[in-house]
Structures are given as structure tokens and as C-alpha cells.
């Protein structure tokens, strides 16, 4: 069969693809539009008027800032925990052979496949049993369960492409374990870790379900938005925050995409 990449797809397929994309992204646009509406009690279409006042209102509300600050802190610390644990785990699984290696690999990935509600319930009952009070740190622990997976997946893929003899070569040339890590391992997996870390940060930043089960009185940004939606006042404030969240999570994901794409080329060319 001929594979003509230049030949354009049939019209029907084009329309179907366009509809699919619109279905995915039109609702997002609606959110953006409602951030500028003058109607504050309900989402009325078409919006009766447009205003930018909600940006100022959002800016001056302390509860928004509190929630945002908590979310950033939780995401940052979960990502840091995930970077350390995920990298160590990936190194163990990809560099050595031991009994049960595949099982451990599967068990590490499982939390991201499990529905968040199950992770949430499991963690909640575990915390209860251990009599750990719900706090900032229980949210961090909850988020770390899936952040580790993202970092692990990125790191393990890069480790597999990085020839094991590089580490031996470094040792052979007189570098001890720490020097080898600093001069050979880290430069080779650096972009993969950055990408994994950014994805982990984005995941943690907009997580609702696990957070619901593991938080005490604290409100992360997504939880705050959920609560805000049921109140009849100043609704567009939620939309303003939603816009910010979309931008804050989109940028790291885009960056991660570009970083791993370039990383592939570097790793491939070095072989």
C-alpha cells in the first residue's frame, strides 16, 4: 500500500476531527467567557454584559490567596518527595535484576491506574487507623502517591535508554558513586526528571478527590472552587481562578512535552 502523507484526508474525517476538538475545547472557552460576565448569580447565556471587575475582586479576596498558596506548597513538596523516591525506584528497577522486579514496577504504577476515590478512601482509613490527624502533611502524602508514578515513569524510560556501561565507564575512570551520579547520571536523566516533576506538579495542583479524603480543614485551590460553585455570590470569581489554573497547569505540561522531545533526540544520538 502506498503511504502518501501529503495526500489530504477525506472531508468527512476532517469534519469529525474538528467536531472532536471542538467538543473537547469549547467548554473551556465558555469558562473563559464567563470570567468576564456582569451577571454574578448564575451562568446566563448569552452574558448580559462584559466587565473585567472580577479580576480585581479575585485579587482582593484573601481566601483565594490562601487556597492558592496551600496548593502551590502541597504541589511543590509532593513533587520534591516524588522526585527523590521516583528516581531511586526507577534506578533500582532499571539498573539491577532481582526477584519480583516486574511486580514492584507494577505496584509502583498502580496508584495512578486506581480510581482516586479508592486511593482516597484507603489513605483516609489508614490515617484513621494510625491515628494521624489530617493536616497539610496528609495531603502531601496523598498527592505523593500519584506524583511518584509520573516521575518514576519518566525516569525509568530514560534509564532504560541510558547505557548501563556509562556508569561502569565512569567508575572505571576513577569516579566514585557520588561523582558518577553528579557528572554522568544526573545530566543524562535531568530533562526526564524535569518533565516528570512538572507533570507531577500539574497533577497535584488540580487534584480534588484524594485531597477531599486526606485534607482536614484546609482548602486547596480546586476544593475551594468546588465550594465556591454552590454559593450564589460573585460566581465569576471562580471562573477567573479557573482561567489561572488552566494557564498554570498548561504551561508546565507544554514545557515537559518539549523537554522530553529534545531529550529523546539527545539520548538517541549518543548511542
Amino acid at each position: 500500500m502506498r503511504s502518501d502523507r501529503s495526500q489530504s484526508a477525506p472531508l468527512g474525517l476532517k469534519i469529525a476531527a474538528a467536531c472532536g476538538l471542538l467538543f473537547l475545547h469549547l467548554p473551556l472557552l465558555l469558562i473563559f467567557v464567563y470570567a468576564f460576565t456582569t451577571e454574578e448569580k448564575s451562568y446566563q447565556w448569552p452574558p448580559p454584559g462584559f466587565t473585567t471587575q472580577w479580576f480585581a475582586v479575585t485579587w482582593s479576596r484573601p481566601d483565594v490567596w490562601q487556597a492558592l498558596s496551600l496548593s502551590v506548597q502541597v504541589a511543590a513538596i509532593s513533587t520534591a518527595v516524588a522526585l527523590v523516591l521516583g528516581t531511586l525506584c526507577a534506578a533500582a528497577v532499571s539498573q539491577t535484576r532481582f526477584f519480583g522486579r516486574e511486580t514492584i514496577s507494577l505496584l509502583v504504577i498502580l496508584p495512578i491506574a486506581l480510581p482516586g476515590i479508592i486511593t482516597g478512601i484507603a489513605l483516609r482509613s489508614a490515617f484513621n487507623l494510625a491515628e494521624i490527624p489530617f493536616s497539610f502533611w496528609t495531603i502531601v502524602l496523598g498527592h505523593a502517591t500519584f506524583c511518584v508514578v509520573v516521575v518514576y515513569n519518566n525516569a525509568v524510560a530514560r534509564f532504560r535508554r541510558t547505557s548501563g556501561s556509562l556508569i561502569e565507564a565512569s567508575m572505571d575512570l576513577g569516579a566514585d558513586g557520588f561523582q558518577t551520579f553528579r557528572h554522568v547520571i544526573l545530566p543524562n536523566i535531568g530533562t526526564a526528571l524535569l518533565a516528570g516533576g512538572m507533570l507531577a506538579f500539574a497533577l497535584s495542583f488540580d487534584e480534588v478527590i484524594v485531597t477531599t479524603f486526606t485534607a482536614g480543614q484546609q482548602q486547596t485551590l480546586p476544593i475551594w472552587m468546588l465550594e465556591e460553585l454552590v454559593r450564589p455570590r460573585q460566581r465569576p470569581v471562580t471562573n477567573v481562578v479557573a482561567m489561572v489554573v488552566v494557564l498554570v497547569t498548561l504551561l508546565p505540561i507544554l514545557a515537559a512535552y518539549y523537554l522530553t522531545r529534545d531529550g529523546d533526540q539527545i539520548a538517541g544520538a549518543g548511542k
Partner: protein, 332 residues
């Protein structure tokens, strides 16, 4: 005299697999030593034992009379040229070569000068700024060599370094490696499964099989006087002759070997020769390799190309000088 490397009853077992099994070995300082054997024969494990990537299960390894057991690779004055070269993809050629000096804390100007000098030694001057990905296979091999040599090791280990190169480049590198070794006087230990390579480059060859050394000797000893059927067969396709065949010509009931080039082909059936059927002839350039069937015994002979050959299927007479019939050790 001190050995560059000595093995005393060294074993390395992986579970039930005896990769290296009670090996005794002495490598003389300054020699070009080849470890030859099929894959899985233990030669690479021996090299890794010297480098320190493996620790012996039993026995003792000494490198220039210093006990090597338990010494990690980064504290051994031994460097390796890896089979896949293992160049650091994120560093340029100069930084690759200077890596060993960098981790030892030698100043930037000093290590750059040493790296440039070594790159000139391996005939790659001015390549320092390139990345390994921009080099050809032969150039990468030279960088790997320079990266090891810049540390002035007492022993240089080479793990099938020419395996990935094409034939012409391989022959050229063989000559260069040998010249380099003579010039530097460093002990080279070279692992290969290529008989021709081992014989043409090494001062001495150890032939490995099943984790043991079958024979150690100069290339001509190994080639002309193999002590066992394995060595005769593995080193350059010798004809291995069974005891009753050998008995007819030497009077002794032992296994023997006869090099293909020692056999002459005649068309007349005479009393002294061996009658054999010509099965096939393969043209190899300077020589032609003949496959023969002597009463069920498969033999090979090489004759100069251009000589008139009988057609395939014809019966010919094989003759050979009895001095060329080599008897193996008893029980081999």
C-alpha cells in the same frame, strides 16, 4: 618477576553457572595479551574481574602484586575500552577524554592539555569540540581509547573493541593498536572471539572454553600445536582427526590435527595418499577452500587459487607431510 595480572584459582559463579572456573593466569608486564574464546566462555568475565566490575567467588587476583579483591573499579590503576565505547553522550570529545583527570581533581588547563595530547596520539587532533553522536564508529573507538589512555593505566583492558567496525577499518585499527602498545609499553589485555585478530595482534593468547583456559601460548604455539580438540577446532578451522585415522600415519592412537594448508591435492590415486571425494570449492581470494569427504571424515584443505581443480564430485588423493600432523595430548 612480578606479573601485571595474576589469577590464582579464580572462580566467578553466577548461581549455578560457572562463568569462570578455577582459572590460573599470569600476564607479563608490557605484553599484548589476548583472551580468545566463543561467547559465554568466560573471557569477558575475566576482563571484568580485572577491571573490578565483578568480584571473584573464590581465588585471588593480583594486579602488579597488589591484592585486588574488594578494591572498587575507581581505585584500580586499570582502564577499560568498552565494547559499545560507552562515551558520555552529554559531554564533548575533549571532556570525555578529560573525564578521568577531572574526577581526580586535576586543574582545567592541565587536563585539557593532556586530553589534546592524547587525542593527537590516537590521530584525532582538533576533534575536541564535537559530541560523540557526531563521530563515526571508528572515531568513537579512538575517543574511547584516548579516554582510557589519558589516565596512564598500568593495564589497559579492551573488550572486543573492534567488533563494531567494518573489515577494512578493523585491519587498520589492529595495526595501530599494536603499534600504540609497543610505543607506550602498557600491558594490553584484549578480549576477542575472532581468532585472526588474536593471532595477528597478541604476544600471547589464552583460549577460553566453558569458564576454563584450555591453552596459553604464543600465536604460533596455539596455531601449530593445539593441545586439545577444542583449540584445534576453534583456532582457525584445523582438521581434527580421530585416533584410528592418526594411528595409520603416526603409529600412535591419539587425536590429531592437520592444518588445511598442509594438505595437498593430487588427481592420481597412489598408495600413500588418502582417497577423498571433492564436495565443494569456495573461492576466498588468494586461496580456495575445499571441502572433502574421506570415507565419511569431513576434511578441509586450502589451496592457492588459480591451480587447476578437479570438478566437484571427483575422487582425489590427499597427501601431507607427516611432520605437519600434530598429535594432541592424551585424553584431549
Amino acid at each position: 618477576m612480578t606479573s601485571a595480572v595474576s589469577f590464582r584459582k579464580v572462580s566467578r559463579h553466577f548461581g549455578s553457572v560457572r562463568a569462570v572456573d578455577a582459572v590460573d593466569l599470569d600476564i607479563v608486564p608490557g605484553e599484548f595479551f589476548a583472551m580468545l574464546g566463543p561467547s559465554g566462555s568466560g573471557k569477558t568475565t575475566c576482563l571484568r574481574l580485572i577491571a573490578g566490575f565483578e568480584q571473584p567467588t573464590a581465588g585471588e587476583i593480583r594486579i602488579f602484586d597488589e591484592k585486588a579483591d574488594g578494591v572498587p573499579p575507581y581505585r584500580r590503576n586499570v582502564n577499560t575500552v568498552f565494547q559499545d565505547y560507552a562515551l558520555f553522550p552529554h559531554l564533548n570529545v575533549l571532556d570525555n577524554v578529560a573525564y578521568g583527570l577531572m574526577v581526580k581533581g586535576i586543574g582545567k588547563a592541565e587536563r585539557r592539555r593532556a586530553a589534546e595530547e592524547t587525542l593527537t596520539l590516537v590521530k584525532l587532533p582538533g576533534y575536541g569540540a564535537r559530541k560523540p553522536g557526531q563521530l563515526s564508529g571508528g572515531q568513537r573507538q579512538r575517543v574511547a581509547l584516548a579516554r582510557a589512555l589519558v589516565n596512564k593505566p598500568k593495564v589497559l583492558l579492551l573488550d572486543e573493541p573492534l567488533g563494531a567496525l567494518d573489515l577494512k577499518l578493523r585491519e587498520q585499527m589492529q595495526e595501530e593498536l599494536k603499534a600504540l602498545q609497543r610505543r607506550l609499553g602498557i600491558t594490553f589485555v584484549f578480549v576477542t572471539h575472532d581468532q585472526g585478530e588474536a593471532l595477528s595482534m597478541a604476544d600471547r593468547v589464552a583460549v577460553f572454553n566453558d569458564g576454563r583456559i584450555m591453552q596459553v601460548g604464543t600465536p604460533s604455539e596455539i596455531y601449530e600445536r593445539p593441545q586439545s580438540r577444542f583449540v584445534a577446532d576453534f583456532v582457525g578451522s584445523s582438521n581434527v582427526l580421530p585416533p584410528d585415522f592418526v594411528q595409520r600415519y603416526s603409529g600412535q592412537r591419539r587425536w590429531g590435527s592437520l592444518r588445511p594448508e598442509s594438505i595437498r591435492i593430487g588427481r592420481n590415486v597412489s598408495g600413500d595418499g588418502v582417497a577423498a571425494k571433492l564436495v565443494s570449492a569456495s573461492y576466498l581470494g588468494a586461496t580456495t577452500r575445499l571441502a572433502l569427504d574421506a570415507e565419511g571424515l569431513r576434511l578441509h584443505a586450502t589451496v592457492p587459487s588459480g591451480a587447476a581443480l578437479p570438478p566437484e564430485g571427483e575422487t582425489v588423493t590427499l597427501t601431507f607431510n607427516r611432520e605437519h600432523l600434530h598429535l594432541m595430548e592424551e585424553g584431549a
